[in-house]
Amino acid sequence: MTLLDVRDLKVHFPLGPDATLHAVDGVSFAVEEGDSFGIVGESGSGKSTTAQALMRLVEPTSGSVRLQDRDITHLGGAELRKLRHLLQMVFQDPYSSLNPRLRAGAAVREPLNLMNIGSRAQRERRVDELFAAVGLHPDAKRLFPHQFSGGQRQRLCIARAIASEPRLVVCDEPVSALDVAIQAQILNLLRRLQQEQRLTYVFISHDLAVVQHICTHVAVMYSGQFVEKAPVKQLFSAAKHPYTWSLMAAALSPDDRRRKESRFTVTGEPPSPINPSSTACRFAGRCPFATEKCRTERPVLTKIGDGHEVACHYAETLTPPMPELAAA
């Protein structure tokens, strides 16, 4: 069953009479119940704004967001609040997303209070369950956020997010602020919770290895748009977009000490999101394969295989500059 259906979502911020920042510029995707949909891209690509628009934390400029067949794009305060228990979010920075003056137990209980879920005693029991589910000691309920480490705080944020038994959890870079050993603990926790509670994730990250580890479907975002979208195995075995290649080539692995000289790198940096070109491929300025066509005609996301879509004029003809992908 399709849980989340996003169509042509745009989030534009007016900056002045003739300048508009196109943070999200027409993205569409659907997420099946129980799947994890990953969005990868570099800073400024619009990943977080997409997440916030799904949560209705920023107003979409156009397009639609449907959750369980209900259009939530324009729901008002009271109606939206009634649906809040279904969609929850885990933020990147567990330091600034917890109220420093609220004890841990109260922080996790707060959504239950706000959404009027259960009796007082039931809420208390639910908090205990949640602490156990995320691997925190029940005694920790009495502590304040500053008494926890970063990893424990992120566990608290996850407990709070799943308190109301949501169907959809939007995770915005949930492990980026954490050390690698703690990151592994949190990723394992997120996967275990997904299996136990049949959660659906939208998972935002800049780290391809993390996304490959946790997601079932992946979209690669660049300058407010998806340039490639595919089931996870398809994407990592047969990526077709030069930008995806550049991300893959730039990802460093402790097992790989051979590529030093031959690594495929692109030059330059992403274009400005203010009044971006509508007649050219936005990656053309950095793409080593770009031709005149790329600079005059904008490629659209086109289906090239089972669930695999690419926005590149030459998706079918280019040879990947990386041996692993070329062989596949």
Partner: protein
């Protein structure tokens, strides 16, 4: 073999909290050779940055070096007077920090910030310094360097700012560069550019680089030698291939298993996603380091001996040592213990 550019022996650093004195670094010994990169890895709070600050003579208030020696080209830095350290910093040794925005002066132009260090250390005229600044911007591959000289830091992107930081660090052709998480704030494609740049510059200048990072991928990409830090001790060191393909210390092994790997091409198709390895618990805070083996509470291999007797420095191969009773469990420990 060449004399090392930097030779650290048995370095100890303490912090005095007013109530108690706690160990921050304990018995750290490292060597850096010209033209080589030493990667320092470990989680936050393990003492990586403190080592860098101790070398530069920039330890924060209440922290002090309580023992050991730090020699730069044979010169003992711990005995050096402040004026001598000032003459060395930015000149013979320089540092690249993690956050390029906060380590550049927002009210000075790029030109002023690069030429300042040259004028200060190398007795150049303003015109000569300006010429060097222009050359440095070209060397770090900043497009249209002429125009960038007059720019202020806020007018540059994060990647460009980090290039400017590198230009400043390299302006006096130092023998040693300490790069403390230089790409952590940058995107991966920009990180790839910065790493390539650092390697090219090192090839031409033979500068020794100490790269502090939490990312084993960055170590694989950049380092020739590796030192793994845990809770203020260097628990394993050796050449990069030995450390990454055959780690001996349980902490290094743990770090390897909890790093998610990108699998491309055919490898992405087989192998279902597996659980990542975990190191239980977390790095203890300063002042709460366990006595005897500091990794013991998180170690799955620990036994009674680990709790009672200081772990030995075990030579697992030539140039590869680990501070652990369990390094190479197949051999008798007495045979390998060297101190």
């Amino acid at each position: 073999m060449d004399r090392p550019v930097l030779d650290i022996t048995d370095l100890r650093v303490e912090v005095d909290t007013g109530r108690a004195v706690h160990s921050v670094l304990d018995g750290v010994s490292l060597q850096l050779l010209a033209g080589r990169t030493l990667g320092i890895v470990g989680e936050s709070g393990c003492g990586k940055s403190m080592t860098a600050l101790a070398i530069m003579g920039l330890l924060p208030d209440r922290f002090r070096v309580s023992g050991g020696s730090i020699r730069l080209m044979g010169e003992e830095l711990l005995q050096a007077r402040p004026a001598r350290l000032r003459a060395l910093r930015g000149n013979a040794m320089s540092m690249i920090f993690q956050e390029p925005m906060t380590s550049l002066n927002p009210v000075l132009t790029i030109e002023r910030q690069i030429s300042e260090v040259v004028q200060l250390h190398q007795n150049k005229t303003a015109a000569e310094a300006r010429e060097i600044a222009r050359e440095m911007l070209r060397a770090v591959q900043i497009p249209s360097p002429e125009a960038r000289l007059a720019a202020y830091p806020h007018e540059l992107s994060g990647g460009m700012r980090q290039r400017v930081m590198i230009a400043i660090a390299l302006a006096c052709q130092p023998r040693l560069i300490i790069a403390d998480e230089p790409t952590t704030a940058l995107d991966v494609t920009v990180q790839a550019q910065i790493f390539r740049l650092l390697r090219e510059l090192q090839d031409s200048t033979r500068t020794a680089i100490m790269l502090i990072t939490h990312d084993l991928g960055a170590v694989a990409e950049m380092a020739d030698d590796v030192a793994v830090f845990y809770a203020g001790k260097c628990v394993e060191k050796g050449q990069v291939d030995a450390i990454l393909s055959d780690p001996s210390h349980p902490y290094t092994r743990g770090l390897m298993t909890c790093t998610p790997r990108l699998r491309l091409g055919a490898a992405a198709l087989d192998a279902e996603q597996q659980e990542l390895g975990e190191i239980p618990g977390m790095v203890p805070a300063i002042g709460r380091f366990p006595t005897v083996c500091r990794f013991l509470p998180r170690c799955r291999m620990a036994d009674g001996r680990c709790a009672n007797t200081e772990p030995p420095v075990v030579r697992v191969a030539s140039d590869h040592t680990a501070l652990c009773w369990k390094a190479r469990p197949d051999e008798a420990p007495e045979m390998r213990a060297v101190r």
